[in-house]
């Protein structure tokens, strides 16, 4: 029974990873691709790690899997945020199908507080 649950969890997690790969190919710009690529980074990994946790034999291994999960949940949003911010501020082109860009005015008039926040 546990094996069946583990199998389903792993397969769904892998399906998310494949969907992310397809999204990386099909989506038109960096931001849309990030939308696709960050899904398996949290949900997909939770599913696969949960499936593995049901299968490993020692309790210490479950702790390791949990540690990976916690690290990933802390770091994935931070990393994605930094990449998105850097890509936008570096002037990456948006897809022509973008319907609204609320930061466009700020980008054209120069960033408010430029230099104050730039050097961390």
């Amino acid at each position: 029974m546990l094996d069946a649950i583990a199998a389903v969890l792993i397969l769904v997690g892998v399906a998310l990873a494949v969907a992310a790969g397809l999204g990386l190919q099909r989506f038109p710009d960096v931001f849309a691709r990030m939308h696709a690529a960050t899904k398996p980074a949290t949900l997909g990994l939770v599913l696969v790690l949960a499936g593995a946790a049901l299968r490993v034999e020692q309790a210490g291994d479950v702790v390791k899997l949990l540690l990976v999960l916690i690290l990933q949940f802390i770091t994935a949003p931070v990393g994605a945020h930094m990449v998105g911010r850097a890509a936008y501020r570096a002037g990456t082109e948006l897809s022509p199908t973008t319907s609204i860009d609320e930061l466009a005015r700020d980008r054209q008039s120069g960033w408010a507080g430029e230099g104050a926040t730039d050097e961390d």
Partner: protein, 86 residues
């Protein structure tokens, strides 16, 4: 379980290949780092599936290191992009 993990490995291989294609094609540095990030998640998933296949936790230490190093790399490249531009 062997059949399930074999199918899962196949999916992981497909996902990794798609990420690699995006990594090579670019076009911008941000695209590449997004693809590299996704590739790292795929690798971590693959190692976890291997642990599920064998029931052994030998390679799980690698997972912890990979998850941490991936974050450091992503943040550094993001800062580099911001300073240098696209």
């Amino acid at each position: 379980m062997r059949i399930v993990t074999s199918v899962a490995f196949l999916g992981i291989a497909v996902a990794g290949l798609l990420c690699l294609v995006r990594l090579v094609r670019g076009p911008s540095l941000a695209d590449r780092i997004v693809a590299l990030d996704a590739l790292l998640v795929v690798i971590v998933s693959g190692i976890a599936i291997d642990a599920a296949r064998t029931g052994e936790g030998t390679y799980l230490d690698v997972l912890v290191v990979a998850a941490l190093l991936g974050f450091v790399g992503t943040v550094n490249v993001a800062r580099f992009i911001e300073r240098r531009g696209a």
